[in-house]
Amino acid sequence: MTRPNAPIGEDDLQLHVDGRLPDDRRAVVEAYLAGEPEVRVRVERERRQRQALAEALRWKAEEPIPARLRLVHLGAERHRRAAGRLRVAAAAAGLFLLGCGSGWLLARGWPAAPAAVPVAAVSGEAVAAYRTYVVEVAHPVEVGSDNEQHLMAWLSKRLGRRLAAPDLSAFGYTLMGGRLLPAGTGAAAQLMYQTPMGARLTLYIQGADGGETAFQFFEAGGAATLAWRDAGYGFAVTAPLPRAALTPIAEAVYRRLDAGAR
């Protein structure tokens, strides 16, 4: 498109509408338009519509900024507020956690100590993080699986536990990468997996005091979560799968993470 003598293309016309043609090319395009009145009318019209649109919205960018958007007002408490709003948004979206406490899968657990972070809370955070990032097209993960070693070393350091990304290829899922998330007073990690068809699954890990628990099953808005607590951490596996399909994956994760920790 920058070659002065190339045939005129739709790209030239769009660049012309946007005033982005280099000078030499613009001369060629204008000469062409002079001989093609119909195209010229069309391009002129698009150009005017572009201007009119910018003009029609100009007032919004000229408004004074509301005080609540000043960064000093967003600063200190931003994590808590963002997380709080996420929860509100999730609740408003009809994201009610069902099956809470009724989904004991394995009989190996015992009730949590009173002060412990409930597995349901871990699951809620996991689902909120799942909903936020699993739909993400541009940046589903912060660090990709091409940097897996770095990713796992980083997450291990921030969570204070040696973590290894479980291999879920037996279920058709490969690691995409992961990200660090705020969680209460600490940090949480999310690992994301994907099938060749683009179906995604997340593994969420956060610090959670209290004893070991069995798997608990939660379902919300089309996604199922199996969550458990082990060795001071809460874990949750979330995917849009039926419980029977999710269970062997969660068990594989449990075995693998356990191996990584010891």
Binding site: E10, D11, L13, Q14, V17, D18, R20, R42, R45, E46, R48, Q49, R50, Q51, A52, L53, A54, E55, A56, L57, W59, K60, A61, E62, E63, I65, P66, R68, L69, R70, L71, V72, L74, G75, R78, H79, R81, A82, R85, A89, A92, A93, G94, R131, T132, V135, E136, V137, A138, H139, E142, P182, G221
Partner: protein, 170 residues
């Protein structure tokens, strides 16, 4: 980078972010919620931004992704978002452009989100095609063909309008 410098850089983009958010949501309060959410995310991810390129497209990409998420939630809920009435634009602007601004905005609202975003990012926010491609996570060649389609659609939608003669005088 010093915190004050970072804040100044980000804040300089707030007016344009508000404009884009408003054009997407067409509701002043929702738009500012969206901008606030975008800013909170930008701050919390600031240190992880290395390698993410220019600041402006990065901020717009965050805003747009937040909008898409919000939209999905709303669709699930089936709640219609209330529309603000745009303030009456200056008559002079309409005369100059020879267009009915209200019809133009209404036509824009009927476009699919991606086409709408393209027209806003390229035509209003003056992003290059490469930057728009990065924000929308599509190839640059696709930007041109979709832009052409969006503009064609807008033209067709407005062709029935006796635009130059319809203007409000206040």
């Amino acid at each position: 980078m010093a915190k004050a410098e970072r804040d100044a850089l980000i804040e300089s983009q707030i007016p344009a972010l508000r404009r884009y958010a408003y054009a997407l949501t067409r509701d002043a309060t929702t738009a500012d919620d969206l901008v606030q959410d975008c800013l909170e995310r930008a701050l919390s991810r600031w240190t992880l931004r290395r390698g993410a390129g220019e600041l402006r497209p990065w901020l717009f990409a965050i805003l747009r992704n937040r909008f898409l998420n919000l939209n999905r939630a709303n669709r699930r809920r089936g709640v219609a978002v209330a529309l603000d009435d745009a303030p009456a634009p200056a008559v002079a602007a309409e005369q100059e452009a020879g267009l009915n601004v209200r019809a133009l905005i209404a036509a824009l609202d009927t476009l699919p989100e991606e086409q709408k975003s393209l027209l806003l990012l390229v035509g209003v926010e003056d992003f290059s095609y490469g930057e728009a491609a990065a924000i929308l996570a599509i190839p640059q060649g696709t930007v041109m063909s979709r832009l052409a389609r969006a503009r064609q659609r807008l033209r067709t939608l407005l062709d029935g309008e006796a635009a130059p003669f319809l203007r409000r005088v206040k």
